[in-house]
């Protein structure tokens, strides 16, 4: 027969397992509730007209076509800025950044990921919007691009570090200089990983709102001019959510459903592609 003390230890062990399992259940439950609400509230207002129309006054319908176009322009711009620089930083960290300076860069990249996106917005306002004297798609793209850099840099570094050393050594043994080894052997070997990291980074900034409020600002019209304010899905969701009109609230949910569909599918596809690696 077990002693009392041993019984207590066993019981408390199972109690703690139950407690930790419930914590996990709570988190997954909250996710389910949020996604459920988005689907329920959003699905009613979505139709083709909503996806291609631009906003109209309350009572006249209107849609998010210009916001979808604007988000695409902003994401394209930010990818042009964020992906090359982010990948270069990642390559530097993985292939060269071993010394003190490399450590410093790694530390700063890690810390940059935690800088609030609104601070990036204020910074871009100071260096782009103020000199140009008006809000612009360019400023929004730069803000999102800056946010992408550390995210892309870290995933690139991790993906390159997964490339086996034997590949590098083989190329070096054949007499290739280091730059050919990196560009011709290591990066192609890590390319799919770098690409999935890039997709995740794009999905991540596609949900950013705060840095766009006073850079891209928002617009109620179709626009693809880089020197003009431009709409985005997230800013439109924000503006509609805090408006007093039920119709706009419904549209905010519908726009959220569109945005979440994009973000979730990227996350799930990336997970599927990388399931063997992790």
């Amino acid at each position: 027969m077990l002693r009392k003390a041993d019984q207590f230890r066993r019981i408390s062990s199972s109690v703690m397992t139950t407690v930790t399992a419930s914590c996990t259940f709570v988190a997954v439950g909250i996710l389910a509730v949020i996604l459920f609400y988005i689907a329920m509230q959003g699905v009613g207002s979505i139709n083709l007209q909503f996806l291609i129309d631009s906003p109209r006054p309350v009572g006249e319908g209107g849609g998010i076509g210009n916001a979808i176009l604007g988000s695409m322009v902003l994401l394209g711009l930010s990818s042009l800025i964020g992906l090359p620089i982010g990948i270069a930083v990642g390559v530097y960290l993985a292939e060269l950044g071993t010394g003190r300076f490399g450590g410093l860069v790694r530390f700063v990249v890690d810390t940059l990921t935690g800088i609030p996106s609104i601070v990036t917005g204020v910074f871009v306002y100071a260096i782009v919007v103020l000199p140009l004297k008006h809000f612009s798609a360019l400023a929004g793209g730069i803000a999102l691009g800056l946010i992408m850099i550390p995210i892309v840099a870290r995933t690139t570094e991790e993906m390159i570090k997964l490339v086996p050393h034997s590949l590098r050594e083989g190329a070096l043994a054949l007499g290739a200089p280091q730059w050919r080894v990196t560009l011709g052997v290591v990066i192609p070997a890590a390319a799919s990983g770098i690409a999935t990291g890039a997709m995740l980074a794009v999905a991540r900034v596609s949900g950013e709102t705060a840095p766009l409020l006073f850079t891209a600002f928002g617009s109620r019209f179709f626009s693809y001019y880089l020197d003009q304010p431009i709409a985005s899905l997230t800013v439109q969701i924000y503006n509609y959510a805090i408006s007093p009109y039920d119709e706009w609230h419904a549209q905010a949910w519908a726009a959220t459903l569109v945005l979440m569909t994009l973000i979730l599918s990227v996350n799930i596809v990336v997970r599927f592609l990388t399931r063997k690696r992790f």
Binding site: T17, I30, Q41, G114, F214, Y238, H249
Partner: protein, 335 residues
């Protein structure tokens, strides 16, 4: 004579340039390959660019907040007056709102995240732990503005009807739970922050726990420890990393903007009640930046941005050092 002298000078300058160049090449590429030197320079400048960005952010924010810094000095942080019309700008209500909402978030999120991480690393079978871990991570993929939308229309009404009245009834003798119940305020902001930082804290704690060597678990089990007692040994081993994870979550909570802006009420007042509307540093910037008329107003908002930048940079730096010490050490050992 003078002609000779100048020629000599030119020659030594040439030599110096030459040696500088080859020195650069050698430093950048031990093999002396020009392609390597160019490649290394490019990659190095990318690394340097990251440092320059951080310096540029600090400088730009400092320059644009000079006016406010000169006008208010340190009083900016201790004044409760935020009155754009009279030109009085004091950040204390925002600092208070930021600290209290982040504290509520940490209070709720830390036990929850620890529970999740312990369950996923120590207790759940592998076939369960991976997909569930992915689901928890998905919480981090939801954009802030979506949390805000959900917060306004689902969480705030729920708290107003089902949570805040009983709190006021049972704990109303505390100043924390007094006052009118609207569903919009510090408590709602803190809860939505807690949901948002839980996936972040739990992900880092998972990494930290996974980095604790299995020999620790085996030793505990060999001594006859139960599963929970073994977990406690693991937790003690990962303690600095767990502290880092919590600080990382705190940094995220401090800087989180949209969701908080949408549910906290945006009123620059300091009230003891958690039901009362409040304001955070980040939400003040988000809410008032485009409306800021006048240089001093704008400058005061930029100074808020500068404070946010410095605080989150320090907090994140500290967290990284703590987490690195645990995860990188063991990762290095394994490799």
């Amino acid at each position: 004579m003078s002609y000779q002298h100048s020629q000599l000078g030119l020659a030594t300058q040439d030599l110096r340039l030459e040696s500088l160049f080859s020195g650069w090449r050698r430093a950048l590429s031990p093999t002396g390959n020009t392609g390597d030197a160019v490649f290394r320079t490019l990659m190095f400048s990318a690394g340097l660019l990251v440092l320059l960005i951080v310096v540029a952010i600090a400088l730009a924010l400092a320059v644009d907040s000079l006016l406010s810094i000169r006008t208010f000095g340190l009083g900016f942080l201790t004044s409760r007056q935020w009155n754009p019309i009279r030109g009085d700008f004091g950040a204390l209500p925002f600092v208070y709102g930021t600290l209290v909402s982040s504290f509520i978030a940490i209070l709720i999120s830390v036990p929850l995240s620890l529970g999740i991480a312990i369950f996923l690393v120590e207790q759940a079978p592998r076939f369960l732990s991976r997909p569930i871990g992915f689901l928890v991570e998905l919480l981090a993929a939801i954009p802030s503005v979506v949390y805000g939308l959900w917060g306004i229309f689902v969480l705030a009404p729920f708290l107003r009807v089902h949570v805040e009245p009983p709190l006021g009834q049972w704990l109303g003798w505390l100043p924390l739970f007094q006052g009118p119940i609207t569903g919009i305020g510090l408590l709602t902001g803190g809860i939505i922050l807690a949901i948002m930082i839980t996936p972040i804290i739990s992900a880092v704690v998972r990494d930290v726990l996974a980095a604790v060597p299995d020999t620790q678990r085996e030793a505990a089990l060999a001594l006859g420890a139960t599963k929970w007692e073994t977990t406690r040994v693991v937790l003690v081993n990962g303690a600095p990393g767990i502290a880092g994870a919590i600080i990382l979550g705190l940094g995220r909570a401090i800087g989180e903007t949209m969701a908080v802006t949408m549910v906290i009420g945006n009123r620059p007042e300091i009230s003891a009640s958690l039901f009362a509307p409040s304001y955070t540093i980040a939400s003040a910037i988000a809410n008032e930046f485009t409306e800021a008329t006048g240089d001093l107003y704008l400058s005061a908002l930029v100074e808020l941005g500068l404070i946010l930048f410095l605080v989150t940079f320090l907090v994140n730096g500290l967290a990284r050092v703590l987490v690195w010490n645990v995860t990188r050490k063991t990762a290095g050992r394994a490799a």
